[in-house]
């Protein structure tokens, strides 16, 4: 079980797992040997709402950093998610087909989106955020959103 940084803003509590990297847009990236597993952060899933559909690029798809790796449709928005690494999709979470709500119920665990065989992990990792840095960005964003309401 990962440990978490937590921020409570207004009535919402957002968690950031400390065992992985992040993009500023709200994807997490967890290294597993030569592969990385990716998913939506707790903040992104909470702020986007219940997931209706999640379409992930199929296994075998070659990706460059920034290529669209998945599209998630929620009750509020459609989100195109840019790949945080270059490489090839080797696994797509089968739950995305039949029960994408797992993205909401377990964003850092069973709600993962895909596994990518990373082509240049060391270089790509340098552009990702450490948990504490993402936590700062996420908390600021959450506070700004709460201030608008």
């Amino acid at each position: 079980m990962p440990e978490y940084l937590e921020a409570t803003v207004d009535k919402f509590t957002f968690r950031v797992a400390t065992d992985r990297y992040y993009t500023g847009e709200g994807l997490w990236v967890k290294a597993e040997g030569s592969r990385v597993r990716i998913g939506l952060t707790d903040y992104l899933q909470q702020s986007s709402g219940d997931v209706a559909f999640a379409e992930v690029r199929p296994e075998g798809t070659a990706l460059a950093v920034g290529d669209e790796v998945a599209v998630v449709e929620t009750i509020k928005v459609d989100i195109g998610l840019a790949s945080p690494v270059s490489g090839t999709v080797t696994e797509v979470n089968p739950a995305m087909e039949m029960g994408p709500e797992v993205v909401n119920s377990d964003p850092y665990g069973e709600g993962w989106l895909a596994v990518i065989e990373a082509g240049n992990w060391e270089a790509d990792r340098a552009n990702l955020l450490e948990p504490a840095k993402y936590f700062e960005i996420m908390k600021r964003s959450a506070e700004e959103e709460a201030g608008k309401q």
Binding site: G49, D50, A52, F53, I75, K76, E101, N104
Partner: protein
């Protein structure tokens, strides 16, 4: 159910999202057009307030709830009011079965939202028919 008794329909009362609007449109379609003789609306807000007439209505007849999001306020409130939820519908689940009917708009639904509301209303009508047929009483809480 006894003759003349109507199934209670309790839709979402949320604001600001298309899915809540779909739940209410479906409820109106049902009680105004599809099953006016066998279904009646009860306002969720009245149950929240503890209104005696609303509580009596859900206590006397099986209820079908239509929730706009996973908070499931309608379902929870009927149960807390002493009612029996015969079937709970979630708009998102219905949309997953009708992906071509993407709801958009809040004050006024787009065509997809209107059609989704109608599809949902027809599913609820089937449940109402089951409850009002002889020996059709009961439900998941019964």
């Amino acid at each position: 159910m006894t003759d003349g008794q109507k199934v209670v329909i309790v839709p979402c009362s949320g604001i600001g999202k298309s899915y809540g609007t779909v739940s209410r449109e479906a409820a109106y379609d049902l009680v105004d057009e599809l099953r006016p003789e066998s279904a009646q609306l009860v306002a969720l807000s009245l149950l929240v307030l503890g209104d005696e007439a609303a509580r009596a209505a859900v206590a006397a007849s099986p209820a079908v709830t239509i929730d706009g999001c996973k908070l499931a306020c309608a379902t929870k409130m009927v149960r807390e009011s002493g009612g029996t939820v015969a079937q709970d519908f979630a708009v998102l689940d219905v949309y997953r079965r009708h992906r071509d009917l993407k709801p958009q708009g809040i004050a006024e639904l787009n065509e997809g939202g209107q059609k989704l509301a109608r599809a949902l209303a027809e599913e609820v009508a089937d449940v109402v028919d089951g409850l009002t047929m002889p020996d059709g009483e009961g439900g998941e809480d019964a």
